[in-house]
């Protein structure tokens, strides 16, 4: 009797090479387009629509002047002409200050003077916010804005921008 010889079973595995090719292409694409995600958020700035101040002449909001060194670093922080060293000192000083109930939110007017770097202004702004005050950023080049000649009311001229919490 003649016996049938078994045929070898053909290889039933999937062809992997094309898939591996595509997968490597994908991997290369993702590696080259990968960017480390930096957490960035927004800080709202309320831009005054007109030059009209919302500051009543009776209220005396604290005025902060930021003086800069030639390299853009903070030289001094003057809170109503009182010199302070760091933004933390400013926050501590503002925490001690009483706030009039009618001024909601209580606002500190900040005037950067000179060639101050952006990060220093942000650091001061954050310190003021930590102390529970709102910030009104004045024009950087308007050092004379708070002078009596520029503003007869004696109040800082909030012509530029107000930063809100």
């Amino acid at each position: 009797m003649r016996t049938r010889r078994k045929r070898p079973i053909p290889d039933s595995e999937m062809p992997m090479a094309p898939m591996v090719d595509v997968v490597f292409q994908l991997l290369v694409f993702f590696i080259f387009t990968f960017q480390i995600r930096v957490m960035e958020r927004y800080y709202w700035v309320r831009v005054a629509k007109t030059k009209a101040a919302q500051v009543t002449p009776e209220s005396k909001p604290p005025k902060v002047k930021l003086q800069s060194r030639p390299d853009g670093e903070l030289q001094a922080i003057l809170l109503d002409e009182k010199p302070l060293q760091t933004p933390d000192d400013l926050a501590a000083e503002l925490l001690r200050r009483p706030r009039s109930p009618e001024s909601q939110p209580a606002t500190v007017f900040v005037t950067p003077v000179g060639v101050l770097k952006y990060r220093n202004v942000v650091a001061v702004t954050m310190a003021i916010q930590r102390a529970g005050w709102a910030v009104a950023l004045m024009r950087a080049d308007s050092g004379a804005a708070s002078s009596p000649s520029a503003n007869p009311s004696g109040q800082p001229d909030p012509q530029s921008t107000r930063v809100r919490r």
Binding site: M16, M19, V20, V23, F24, L26, L27, F30, I31, T33, F34, Q35, R37, V38, M39, E40, R41, Y42, Y43, W44, V45, R46, V47, A48, K49, G72, P112, V115, L116, K117, Y118, R119, N120, V121, V122, A123, M126, Q129, R130, L137, R139, A140, D141, S160, T161, R165
Partner: protein, 140 residues
């Protein structure tokens, strides 16, 4: 003479490698950000602690300033702050913004504040009321 033992598959063992490659692809896919705004990596905003919620979904006009105060992304390319075409470049960028549209200012931490101030001033002149500073979240 040594006899070669034939490999069962006759090739490399691919399974572990493919496993790892798929893991890598999954990582890259999930860590990919689909931010609608193209931001410049060289700009490093200052750290901040008290920031609002992310509002990336809103259509916004992005104004970027690098550490030299150079305006990025304008139609004329990068424009330095002391360049005479800085105001016009800024105006061109802001011209695309509607009055109720968000303007995002993303400036480098080392930039002069006066550059940011000029952008804020231009926003005020155009009566753009929704302006935000894009800052880095300080996690420490």
């Amino acid at each position: 003479m040594r006899r070669r033992i034939p490999d069962e598959h006759g090739g490399l063992i691919m399974t572990p490698m493919i496993d790892i490659v798929f893991q890598l692809i999954a990582f890259f896919i999930f860590s990919m950000s689909f931010s609608p705004q193209h931001i410049s990596r060289p700009v490093k905003p200052p750290d901040a602690t008290q920031l609002g919620e992310a509002i990336d979904n809103q259509p916004a006009v992005l104004i970027e300033l690098d550490r030299e105060g150079t305006l990025l992304g304008g139609p004329e390319g990068a424009v330095k702050i002391d360049d005479p075409s800085f105001p016009s470049g800024l105006e061109t960028l802001l011209a695309a913004a509607k009055p109720d549209q968000l303007v995002v200012i993303r400036a480098d931490r080392e930039a002069a504040y006066s550059a940011v101030d000029r952008v804020l001033d231009a926003c005020r002149a155009r009566k753009l009321s929704k302006v935000v500073l894009r800052l880095k979240v300080n996690t420490s």
